[in-house]
């Protein structure tokens, strides 16, 4: 059962990567559209990214 857990961890990392990438990209779009709201967007982006990252870590360490 060693291989499936590693594969699962890999899948999780891919998912988290895609998720955080999307958040970052969307934040960039938002900043480009509304540069005056940069601070708020960055904070929201970091919170969202941190939450996803948290799930990633949790799954990674449990698995």
């Amino acid at each position: 059962m060693e291989v499936p857990t590693i594969v699962g961890a890999g899948l999780i990392v891919i998912g988290v990567g895609i998720g955080i990438g999307r958040i970052g990209g969307s934040a960039m779009d938002a900043i480009a559209r509304q540069p005056e709201a940069t601070g708020k967007i960055q904070t929201a982006m970091l919170i969202a990214a941190a939450l996803i990252e948290g799930i990633g870590f949790a799954a990674l360490f449990v698995g």
């Binding site: 601070g39 904070t43 970091l46 919170i47 941190a50 990252e53 948290g54 949790a58 360490f61």
Partner: protein, 363 residues
């Protein structure tokens, strides 16, 4: 954070010094293995990195593996084993000998103290785990020393900042650098995320931010410590956030967890365990995030620096050095970012706990 010329100079100076010393530390250990095969070298590098990221009973700056000499100082070992046992870690001779205290014998195995007989025999089970008894260990380890140093530094810095405000409304000295950060935490972390009751949480948020940030930065210095990359430390910090959150939680908060308003009754039965699980997952993620980020940063940075000595040709070593330099800059950013995220998420959780509005129309 505003980047002033002073900050820039500070960071660049800090970086270059830490880079140089890091390199020296690794070099010492690797030079000795010059003639041995690459495998041996790799093993040695791995051991070195392991040693670096782990806590230690003595404060070693660097070791000379050729002569077996360690440069540093010993720290007190405090054990509770049917009575208090306090002795210097020099008795262990870096884990090579058995230490005797009040008729009991102790030995370090894999960075943990075990009770042994006078010869220091350690028995193993079939999975090669030691079966010897483990005394309760309250030793002042390397990480504890760094925590004390950081605490002292913070106290001096911020008590000084407070004192400089007595003379006039504008801070003087080092406080001029830290005052905007204090204000940033208040205005951009506490106020928007907690709301009007933010004042109660300010001491914790400020302390935790600077504590993590300073320890992260110490981790990048040649002192070779890895405090915030230690699970016990991040567990303690996350536990404090958890405890504060639960104790400041109002009726609204608990209602939101166990009987979420605005959703159909069957859904409430499904949501309640999920929400309850979330209460524990949040600080757990907080703990793992800080630990994993700092740990990973240290391992990667040390590996890249080790690569300089492993490759041993101009192009490879040069590239590794450049890479290590940029990685150091990223690690500096990560040091601040992780402190920021820990503080921000703590503030967010406190905000959930003290929120006071009708959820009826909000959902």
């Amino acid at each position: 954070m505003r980047i002033t010329p002073f900050t820039k100079a500070f960071f660049i100076g800090f970086l270059s010094i830490s880079g140089i010393f890091f390199a020296q530390e690794v070099e010492h250990n690797i030079d000795a293995a010059h003639d041995s095969s690459k495998d041996a070298k790799k093993k040695e590098i791995k051991a070195d990195i392991d040693h670096h990221i782990q806590d230690s009973y003595s404060f070693t700056f660097f070791s000379d593996s050729e002569t077996g000499k360690h440069y540093g100082f010993s720290l007190p070992v405090i054990l509770w084993d049917d009575g208090l046992h306090i002795f210097s870690s020099s008795k262990f001779h870096h884990g090579e000998t058995v230490a005797e205290s009040n008729g009991n014998y102790y030995k370090i195995y894999h960075n943990k103290v075990y009770k042994t007989d006078a010869k220091g025999t350690i028995s193993y089970d079939e999975e090669h785990h030691p079966t010897n008894a483990k005394p309760l260990d309250f030793s002042i380890t390397k990480n504890v020393v760094m925590m004390f140093v950081t605490g002292l530094l913070m106290f001096l810095l911020f008590a000084g900042l407070a004192k400089s405000f007595k003379k006039g409304p504008i801070a003087t000295g080092a406080g001029r650098f830290f005052e905007p950060i204090v204000l940033y935490i208040r205005d951009d972390i506490a106020k928007p995320n907690i709301g009007p009751k933010y004042k109660k949480f300010m001491p914790y948020l400020l302390t935790v931010f600077f504590f993590i940030w300073f320890l992260n930065l110490f981790g990048l210095t040649p002192l070779g410590v890895n405090v915030t990359g230690n699970i016990a430390v991040t567990f303690a910090l996350a536990l404090i956030t958890f405890v504060i959150t639960q104790f400041s939680g109002n009726k609204n908060y608990w209602k939101h967890i166990f009987w979420m308003p605005g959703v159909p009754v069957p859904m409430k039965f499904i949501l309640a365990p999920i929400e309850l699980l979330g209460v524990f997952i949040k600080p757990f993620a907080l703990m793992i995030r800080l630990y994993a980020n700092i740990m990973a940063g240290h391992v990667v940075l040390m590996s890249i620096i080790a690569l300089v000595f492993l490759v041993q040709n101009w192009i490879g070593s040069g590239l590794s050095l450049v890479l290590a330099f940029f990685l150091s800059i990223i690690e500096l950013l990560v040091a601040a970012l992780q402190a920021y995220i820990f503080t921000l998420l703590s503030a967010l959780y406190f905000g959930f706990a003290v929120e006071e509005h009708d959820h009826e129309e909000a959902h």
